[in-house]
């Protein structure tokens, strides 16, 4: 059974239809990349999967055998879907360590597992921070407050590493990263690849895919997946741009 199965997904915000019938199937162990031009609906897809309330949604999404569209955001998260935000949010006055322990414990609690106390939790967090080359001073800094763009993105991957989701959706995690930071983030993501975990990379650019090589590439244009293929598709897009794909959609109509 697929981990994620999206059928004919439509999403509308302010009577503006953004997703116009998306179909996608993701199995455990796979890495998918969703590419597309600005405004094609990539981020909307990521947000809809995380159950952001702002959208009116039709179609069906099965996640982990459940009807995802009937779940609350925190239920989806507890069931193992993680969204790395394109714009991570600042939470003043709440330390990174406190926040992440609260998150992990909420998830553990939903699974009927014991909560971790600070003594058990800190070594785990520190280990993941080392992997992402983040200084320990970030433990006690308020969540994302005063972080640089790159630090925020790395912090997202630290969270993903701690929460160990079944499905990670990375929304333009590469944007705003310099090449060194990109390599660190890619290393963190690659370390998370496993046969039990699926990853969906949402991105504009081929650049990220040089470091995280996907199994499948999908091209999203104007709210629909217009083309799917292997990693070579990304290179093709890089050379030709999205324009030809957009035209192809137009011609087919």
């Amino acid at each position: 059974m697929s981990l994620l199965e999206i059928k004919n997904l439509h999403a509308t915000v302010n009577s503006n239809e953004i997703l116009k019938g998306v179909d996608l199937r993701v199995n455990p162990g796979e890495v998918h990349s969703i590419m597309g031009p600005n405004g094609s609906g990539k981020s909307t897809l990521a947000q809809v999967l995380a159950r952001r309330e702002s959208y009116e949604v039709t179609g069906s999404v099965q996640f982990n055998g459940k009807d995802l569209l009937a779940m609350k955001p925190e239920e989806v998260a507890c069931d193992g879907l993680f969204l790395a935000f394109q714009y991570p949010v600042e939470i003043p006055g709440i330390s990174n360590a406190y926040f992440l322990r609260a998150a992990l414990n909420a998830i553990r609690k939903s699974r009927g597992e014991d909560e971790l106390d600070a003594i058990d939790f800190l070594p785990l967090l520190k280990e993941k921070m080392r992997l992402l080359e983040m200084d320990e001073k970030f433990l006690n800094r308020p969540v994302n407050e005063g972080f640089s763009g790159g630090e925020k993105k790395r912090n997202e991957i630290v969270q993903m590493a701690v929460l160990e989701p079944k499905l990670a959706v990375l929304d333009e995690t590469d944007s705003g990263l310099d090449i060194d930071a990109l390599k660190v983030v890619a290393k963190g993501v690659n370390a998370m690849r496993s046969k039990d975990r699926a990853i969906v990379l949402v991105t504009h650019y081929q650049r990220l895919l040089d470091y995280i090589v996907p199994d499948f590439v999908h091209v999203l244009v104007n709210g629909r997946i217009v083309k799917s293929g292997g990693p070579e598709l990304a290179l093709e897009l890089e050379a030709k741009g999205y324009k030809t794909e957009a035209e192809a959609v137009g011609a087919r109509r």
């Binding site: 309330e53 955001p73 998260a77 969204l83 939470i91 003043p92 709440i94 992440l100 998150a103 969270q159």
Partner: protein
């Protein structure tokens, strides 16, 4: 559910302290006159100097009332108060003087148990001595003996008038004179009890002192008076908590608190104010018109106010510091929350008189529902206050789109060497923040509570530990139903 709905849900939480205790009361007829003042003094068996002071206060108040000089400048709205329709003295009836806690009316003791404040000493959290004020009368003070060993006087105001008249005479009205303002004058005329603390030279008070105020009777005003004196080199930390039953009509609470810190002394005063705020439509609730002021009389003295204001229909309150001694320090840390139809106009005054005096003001206002929250601050640097410094930070958080936040900072500087900093911010609790936390598995209610606690952190860390935990809980209860 949308965030707005959830906000509304959070604010729907009922007030949990709204029960009434059936206890016989001894009360004076409604209305205010010289006879009533005399009757209060007589009931309390007060010495002549107290009666004189009350009468002077009453005459001043009456002259102000005639001029309709009740303060109108605060950013709050309420119908005129009929001062003749209130009773100015209500006390739980007791037959004789109480010699021990066992003689306190069990109904009253059980009230405090219900509020989570067991007065039986063995059950108390170690290290906190409690004075309980029920309606206007102090019913029990715990740990008296242990404090006595250290030389600390902690008793009801009535006892202080009888047992330490010289101290009362010397300090009463020395920080808040009866002419200070309309409500202070009223309090000075009719106050029936309160707490008194004296910490002698060089003594560090061995435990936290705490007063718990409870209004029970109907149609009464509560007017208590607190006087705390820290002599040279002394230290004391004092906590104050308040609740009241649910009643449809508004009740008046006009207290006065005076603090005096001598050379090298420190007073830390913490309040968690949870008077009945009125119902969801804004009916009922306490009018909390309180004058709190501390005087840093001696050099290197320090007074620190921390308040968490979640209750009352209307709050009108400005815990202030007069920084008279050289190098003295004044601090004000405040969280004020208004939900439903609550109104708060609160803040502080820092008056710098001595050299190198320092003040810090951190104010966090949270508005939800139709709540209106006003910060009003005054920082005055007088001519002689060379090297004075002030830092003010004033942040407002809005939940929903029906509430309001207002800021009125007044700054007056007469000495060019002063250094002043003022920071202010207003933000709305963001859907983005809530969604981010939810996406990490945290429920919406917990997310809101986490965001608010983060917002208030700078103030909570000033509270004693148990109080900080209490304050966090109270804040999430007060907001329950306000965040969807």
């Amino acid at each position: 559910m949308s965030t707005v709905d959830q906000i509304q849900d959070l604010t729907k939480q009922e007030y949990k302290w709204g029960f009434v205790t059936a206890v016989e009361e001894d009360r004076l007829p409604n209305g205010l006159s010289e006879e009533i003042i005399r009757a209060i003094a007589a009931k309390k068996g007060e010495p002549e100097f107290m009666l004189e002071w009350r009468l002077k206060s009453y005459r001043y108040w009456a002259s102000q009332e005639q001029k309709q000089a009740e303060p109108k400048w605060a950013n709050v709205k309420y119908p005129p108060i009929d001062y003749q329709a209130l009773s100015y003295y209500s006390a739980p009836k007791k037959k004789t003087e109480l010699n021990s806690l066992d003689e306190v009316d069990p109904e009253i003791l059980s009230t405090y148990e219900k509020l989570g404040i067991p007065l039986h000493e063995q059950k108390l959290l170690a290290g906190v001595a409690v004075d309980a004020v029920f309606d206007s009368v102090s019913v029990a003070t715990t740990f008296k003996e242990k404090l006595k060993e250290a030389g600390v006087i902690f008793c009801s105001f009535s006892d202080a008038v009888k047992e330490h008249p010289e101290l009362v005479k010397k300090y009463l009205g020395s920080v808040v004179p009866y002419t200070d303002n309309f409500f202070a004058a009223l309090n000075s005329a009719v106050f029936s009890d309160g707490s008194f603390v004296y910490v002698p030279k060089g003594v560090r008070c061995p435990m936290e002192l705490s007063t718990y105020f409870r209004i029970n009777a109907q149609n009464t005003g509560q007017f208590e008076r607190t006087l705390i004196i820290a002599d040279e080199g002394a230290y004391v930390s004092y906590l104050e908590g308040c609740t009241a039953p649910v009643r449809d009509e508004n009740q008046l609470h006009a207290a006065v608190v005076e603090l005096i810190a001598h050379d090298n002394a420190t007073i830390k005063y913490s309040t968690v104010q949870n008077w009945y705020p009125g119902d969801k439509e804004g009916k009922g609730g306490i009018y909390n018109f309180v004058t709190k002021r501390g005087k840093c009389l001696g050099k290197n003295s320090k007074i620190s106010w921390t308040q968490v204001e979640t209750g009352s229909a209307i709050t009108w309150k400005y815990p202030s510091c007069i920084l008279q001694g050289d190098n003295s320090v004044g601090e004000f840390y405040s969280v004020a929350l208004t939900n439903n139809y609550q109104q708060a106009d609160t803040g502080t005054k820092m008056i710098h008189i001595g050299k190198n005096t320092k003040s810090t003001v951190v104010s966090k206002g949270i508005s939800a529902g139709h709540g209106q929250n006003t910060y009003r601050g005054g920082v005055k640097i007088l001519k002689g206050a060379t090297g004075a410094r002030n830092y003010t930070q004033c942040d407002s958080l809005l939940i929903g789109d029906q509430c309001g936040a207002h800021t009125f900072p007044y700054i007056e500087v007469k000495n060019a060497s002063a250094r002043m900093e003022h920071e202010a911010s207003t933000s709305k609790i963001g859907e983005d923040q809530i969604f981010y936390l939810q996406q990490r598995g945290i429920s919406k209610e917990e997310a809101v509570s986490m965001i608010i606690n983060g917002f208030c952190k700078a103030v909570f860390k000033e509270l004693p530990m148990e109080f900080a935990v209490e304050a966090q809980k109270l804040l999430s209860i007060s907001l329950e139903g306000s965040v969807g």
